[in-house]
């Protein structure tokens, strides 16, 4: 979902910007009155400023309600996975969790910074956090679908970075 939003917003706005620059580039060979154009530019500047305010304020406000950080009001999850990043392997305990129930994944790094990324069977990144020495970052996630999920390292951690993969099995609820 988030990836689709990102692609859609980026495609539309980038295309719009490119079109504006292209139109202005095409107009450059014509002549116009600098004063009139300056006045028009000032209007555009004001308009774009307020347009950005109108778009940004609700976007920021809404998106901040969708932050992945766990909140204290959620209470402890009954299913806990401890995940530790080592150069260059993941240590997961347990390695299987049930679908449909909130899982608390406690992520840390034993040596250097790693990135704990959870991928679904289709290769789509679902969520992530950093695995950092001295800290435990907590992901709360409910796996909707049973299956095998891949854990890939998403923070460069040295020579074996790209080999640092593991699996988390999500089982069907009986």
């Amino acid at each position: 979902m988030e990836q689709r939003i990102a692609v859609l917003v980026t495609t539309v706005l980038c295309a719009l910007l490119l079109a504006v620059f292209a139109l202005v580039a095409r107009s450059a060979s014509a002549s116009g009155t600098a004063e009139q154009i300056a006045a028009g530019a000032a209007r555009w500047r004001r308009t774009s400023f307020w347009a950005l305010v109108i778009v940004f304020v609700p976007t920021i406000a809404y998106s901040l309600t969708r932050m992945p950080y766990p909140s204290a009001s959620e209470g402890p999850a009954s299913i806990v996975v401890d995940a530790t990043g080592h150069q260059w392997a993941w240590e997961l305990t347990p390695t299987a969790v049930p679908a449909g129930q909130p899982v608390e994944i406690r992520v840390t790094g034993a040596d250097v910074n790693h990135g704990f990324g959870i991928y679904d069977a289709g290769g789509r990144l679902l969520t992530q956090t950093q695995a950092m020495p001295g800290y435990t970052n907590v992901i709360r996630y409910t796996f909707a679908t049973p299956g095998t999920y891949r854990i890939l390292c998403l923070e460069y951690c040295g020579l074996g970075h790209h080999t640092m993969a593991s699996q988390l099995v999500v089982t069907a609820v009986r």
């Binding site: 990836q3 600098a34 950005l52 766990p70 910074n113 990144l125 956090t129 800290y135 040295g158 080999t163």
Partner: protein, 492 residues
């Protein structure tokens, strides 16, 4: 799209450069730009090799891949800084009395640092990425030794010392002329009634860069030194999260400054093509001050996935991600469009590249802001979406500014553009956008960044990226050869 250089002598408004004027330091600036041109091309080839290896077209061992990755990253940051410094110095020296000796000293420190960094990487095997996140430099599991780590860290420190000297000199010169940094930022005009006697855009931008980069380099020096001590005394530790904060503060401010230095070329040169002066209007002055304040506090957007980072800092990071770059970008983009619109401007390589640079900067901001949203960063952070957005505003922003400035300098030697230049321009623009778009597409399908070996389903996009990297480099090679061929005439 191009034709001969316009007669800027007859059309030059007050802020434009007057051709024929011999400025002190022009030869040194040309040397800055020649080094920039060569290093940019070399590092682009490194990038090409990495993409080709990920595509499975060539086989680069993982240790060599990560060395190339480290060299590409730190090299691009540093050379963008050097090219930007060349542009800034060249034009700022019109307004304030800068030291040519310091300009040379910066280059000497830079070259000494580059020797250390290259030795660390390609002789010592150092490959902790340009971000050298603590404590990776000292924990390679035997892949590289402490000597290589020390050489890298000292090399980056040397480059930083050179830039620090340069900014201390710009601070000195600006203060000598304007009396205070506030006046050089145009605060009396920004917060007063009239903009008469406002400092020129070049001075405003240079002052902002000076103010933000001095603390950035100082902070960078702190974490580099801590990492250096940790290399030989592992018991000497720093909190890994604090280290990340220090590194990203330094890195974010420094790389943004490369844009702010390079855009001075747009402010100074573009008006000479359009005949319309670039004025320090009230919105312009306010925008630069706003950006100066926000860019110092926006770096936590690199730490969104560090859940342990204070939440207020990450929330602030998102809000400022949306707002920090926009003031300057908006006033610069709209002013560029207004400057060019129906101006009767004739296109040549200089004007085209400078126009493209503002387009690249503007377009690149879009996917950057998207990624600066915490809820989206959760599935985009450290995927190839990230190199996707920064390649747009660096490859098609800063690099275009640098080459635009180089064509401007080369044009002063009497040379004109021809068909080959125009073809190169189109290859560079089309190839650069397509290359960056492939990164974005790969990020959208969750391909991680900084992986030496890619899984089979990702390799189709890697192949496309390789192709477009080749196209981009083909254009850039022409720029480089053209500039080097003409630069000799500028050494006088």
């Amino acid at each position: 799209m191009t034709s001969g250089m316009p007669d800027v002598r007859t059309r030059a408004p007050e802020t434009s450069y007057t051709p024929g004027a011999t400025l002190p330091g022009r030869g040194v600036v040309s040397l800055y730009m020649a080094i920039t041109a060569l290093v940019l091309a070399l590092l682009m080839v490194f990038g090409l090799l990495m993409r080709a290896s990920q595509a499975g077209i060539i086989a680069i061992p993982a240790n060599r891949f990560y060395q190339l990755l480290t060299a590409h990253g730190i090299g691009m940051v540093a050379i963008s800084g050097l090219g930007g410094a060349g542009v800034m110095w060249y034009f700022l020296s019109r307004y304030v009395a800068l030291s040519r000796a310091i300009l040379i000293a910066n280059l000497a420190f830079f070259l000494a640092g580059v020797v250390c960094v290259l030795g660390a990487i390609f002789i010592g095997g150092f490959a902790a990425a340009w971000t050298f996140l603590f404590p990776l430099p000292a924990r390679s599991l035997g892949v590289w030794g402490p000597g290589a780590t020390a050489s890298y860290l000292i090399g980056v420190l040397l480059v930083g010392v050179g830039f620090l000297l340069l900014y201390l000199d710009t601070a000195r010169a600006i203060l000598n002329k304007y009396g205070s940094l506030g006046r050089a930022l145009g605060w009396p005009q920004a917060f007063g009634k009239a903009t008469v006697d406002a400092p020129p855009p070049t001075v405003v931008a240079s002052t902002v860069v000076t103010i933000i980069n001095i603390p950035a380099i100082a902070v960078g020096a702190v974490i580099l030194t801590i990492s250096l001590v940790n290399t030989y005394a592992p018991a000497f530790q720093v909190n890994a999260l604090l280290a990340k904060n220090l590194i990203y503060f330094f890195g974010h401010v420094f790389i943004n400054s490369t844009i702010y230095m390079s855009v001075i070329g747009v402010y100074e040169i573009l008006p000479s093509f359009t005949g319309r002066p670039w004025k320090s209007s009230k919105p312009f002055l306010l925008a630069w001050t706003a950006t100066m304040l926000m860019v110092l506090a926006v770096y936590p957007h690199h730490l969104f996935m560090d859940y342990a980072n204070p939440r207020w800092a990450n929330v602030l990071g998102q809000i400022l991600s949306y707002t920090s770059g926009l003031p300057v970008l908006t006033v610069t983009a709209i002013a560029t469009l207004a400057n060019v619109y129906r101006s009767g401007m004739k296109w040549n390589m200089t004007s085209s590249l400078l126009f493209v640079s503002i387009m690249g900067w503007s377009v690149g901001i879009v996917p950057a802001i998207v990624d600066g949203t915490i809820a989206i960063n959760r599935v985009m952070h450290n995927t190839q979406w990230v190199p996707g957005h920064f390649h747009i505003y660096l490859l098609l922003g800063v690099v275009a500014m640098s080459f635009g400035f180089m064509y401007f300098l080369a044009g002063m030697s009497g040379a004109t553009d021809d068909m080959l230049d125009r073809v190169a321009l189109w290859l560079y623009v089309a190839g650069g956008f397509a290359f960056s778009a492939v990164f974005l597409a790969a990020g959208a399908v969750s391909v991680p960044r900084r992986w030496a070996v890619h899984m089979l389903p990702w390799r189709g996009l890697d192949g496309l990226g390789t192709l477009f990297a080749l196209v981009t480099i083909a254009g850039v090679v022409v720029f480089v050869v053209r500039f080097l061929g003409r630069a000799r005439a500028l050494r006088a």
